[in-house]
Symmetry: C2
Subunit: 151 residues, 2 copies
DNA sequence: GGCTGAGGTCGATAGCGTCCACGGACTGTG
DNA sequence: CACAGTCCGTGGACGCTATCGACCTCAGCC
């Protein structure tokens, strides 16, 4: 990971569809060289994926909620995790310090669907309670990360 | 937004670097047709951007925190928002229902940097208090959204 | 010095992006 | 019904890109 790799990562964070030729021009290398570097960034796991960022409203997902989840004493954390993973509405999942072991971000179409999701979560074995906050609006999300001079 | 547009969005959510030719094969249209459809999805705002998803640790951002922010009574919400926006560590910002007007997700390199960020937030005019939770691990994030039959 | 490996350039070729002219299915109208 | 207009697609063409293989260069090491 040198300075050129960092620039490549930064460029691709900004626009994942840049051509190798364009990347090459920006960093001052040839296209094959860039191709190889990006390939290594991908296979070493620095670049995990390339995703189109979609406006949730336009695909019928207008409601965003954040859910803190408290586990039963004696719950199997892996089982809970697996159950949560199977709910496609849950688009992010963090294991947290604190009473609420998990913090979930969910995206659904309507408040009614959110209600159903919460009920399903509360019924899940190992889940003691949940606490849900509803986002009224998303100001921004997943802003490209500032590239600290890395590892 | 018909079924083909939905497939295109779904395919690009999964891999933003697919070529138009490949997309065309997958949805059974010609490349120029796909090119035009994707162009319209972009300019109508359905597709906001294409981003490389980067492993935060590898660019020196190993600490994820979630911060609830309570505004002063009489604070100017727009000013608070502007101040928060200027902090590049804050990668997501939601305006929430509840006492904590904003929920922020931050990404920093070390706990020391997190401390500085929190101090800066608490010093910001209009901010009454903050409450921070630290993520011990990220199970997953920004999973491709399930494509409900959309608008 | 001479080997070796990493990482670059160059050149070639197949395939892709993108522009354009053209054509069929709907739709509203005389 | 015939007509024109619109929408949305196809196919062809052409320049640019992706990607492979051959070769070059430099650093480290025996």
């Amino acid at each position: 990971m040198d300075a050129i790799d960092l620039s490549l990562v930064e460029l691709l964070q900004g626009n994942a569809r840049l051509s190798y030729a364009e990347l090459a021009r920006q960093v001052g290398l040839s296209a094959p060289a860039v191709h190889e570097r990006v390939g290594k960034l991908e296979s070493s796991g620095v670049i995990r994926a390339y995703r189109a960022e979609v406006e949730p409203e336009s695909i019928g997902l207008g409601v965003t909620a954040v859910i803190g989840l408290v586990e039963d004493s004696g719950a199997d954390t892996d089982d809970v995790l697996e159950a949560v993973r199977r709910m496609p509405e849950i688009d992010s999942c963090y294991f947290m310090a604190g009473v609420e072991s998990f913090l979930l971000k969910a995206r659904v179409g309507t408040i009614a669907e959110l209600e159903q999701l919460i009920v399903r979560l509360n019924r899940t074995p190992g889940v003691a309670s949940t606490r849900t906050g509803v986002a009224l609006s998303t100001k921004w999300e997943n802003r490209p990360q500032p590239l600290g001079p890395a590892s």
